[in-house]
Symmetry: C2
Subunit: 207 residues, 2 copies
DNA sequence: ATCCTAGTGTGTACGGTGTCCACATTGCCA
DNA sequence: TGGCAATGTGGACACCGTACACACTAGGAT
């Protein structure tokens, strides 16, 4: 059953490939995910991967989704539930925004895999509307509405506005000019930016 | 002097390579810039490019800077100078934001080259602080301060907040889930998002 | 218990890429 | 007019993604 000590069939190769992809992309980002290297890391022939993923991109997408789940895991760990409903709601929204940015700053390679996988990736399934971090944001905004801090009519626009701001800041901070600033300053600016968009979104009147 | 009809020396090969890079990346984005194809388009041997650019990335960066200049060219065309100083200032800021987004929507390939060149690009020189579109934003915010619509202390933070929002929206709209929405809806949301961040930034109190 | 089939991994090969090296050609300046 | 620095060429190397045909193995039907 085995010529070396490893059986011919790997057991759960699909999972192993995704995990190898995770460790490979953590430092260098999506470019570091090369079929030959992933399979090499798992100790398997390059073509074996094609039994589980049609493409390099399909594997990369799978890794990206896994990373999005890691992301929400870290984000939920930030929530603190004290105070009345209004402060809880606003704290929750803040936590989502800062958590998103913190993850990007702490794991720039992974963040790039999750949200900038490949320049030519087809956008419709790149980061579907059900992206877990996006759901967290949606929930946080619903809490704001329930607490009376945000008009129900403004909710839809607020989703895009909040996501855009936080996402853009993360992009500028990881692969843009903000990366040149010292990390403490970056975090300080992150807090200001999050406050600004929360303010702007709460003031928004329906159009 | 010529074996075919083209002289051995190209004249301005560096410029020709950049222009070929522009046309190659316009549709498909940064990935479409391949050394062999660029040189092929110019009618020159692949290695000739290495007399003018150390790397593929160096050429890609040059193309990206060129695109940033194209971007401001289109953005300045949007400015309309009517009304009093305050309305001019706020209209200018709006125009910068919407112009940024419009360019990204109209030229997603180029936008990606300018701001998401390669996942592994070293961020310090990726989009230096003097990026032309960023300078436009800085100027617009200075006008806001001069018009008394923005506190001088808040200006620094406002720069990052505005850029992050607009940049993030462009990213979501070109390679993210917003790309799935109909273009008219995207533009509508763009207007709301820009309004929201302007509101938020103007309300900001110093920290 | 045996066979067969579907699932999974392997070997080989092809075309493409970025980039290094040695060499060819040319324009320019002393 | 000679020579030198700049510029373009040809060939080669290592690597990549992936298609094709084949090998092995597990597990259900007989």
């Amino acid at each position: 059953m085995a010529v070396g000590d490893r059986p011919y069939h790997h057991g759960d190769l699909r999972e192993a490939l995704i995990e190898a992809g995770l460790t490979l992309t953590r430092q260098e980002g999506p470019e570091a995910l090369r079929m030959r290297e992933v399979t090499r890391a798992v100790g398997v022939s390059p073509n074996a991967a094609y039994r589980h993923f049609a493409d390099r991109r399909e594997l990369l997408d799978a890794v990206g989704q896994r990373i999005q789940h890691l992301m929400v895991d870290r984000m939920v760990a930030l929530r603190s539930g004290t105070g009345d409903r209004a402060t809880q709601a606003i704290d929750g929204l803040r936590a989502v925004g800062l958590g998103y940015i913190d993850f990007a700053l702490g794991e720039p390679g992974w963040f790039a895999v999750a949200f900038f996988p490949a320049p030519g990736s087809r956008p419709e399934d790149a980061a579907p509307r059900e992206a877990p971090p996006y759901r967290m944001l949606v929930d946080a905004l619903d809490e704001m509405v329930a607490a009376g801090l945000l008009g129900a009519a403004a909710r839809d626009g607020a989703r895009w506005a909040c996501w855009a701001t936080v996402h853009g800041f993360a992009g500028l901070a990881t692969r843009g000019p903000l990366a040149a600033l010292p990390p403490a300053e970056v975090r300080r600016q992150a807090r200001r930016v999050v406050e600004a968009i929360i303010d702007g979104v709460c003031r928004e009147r329906p159009t």
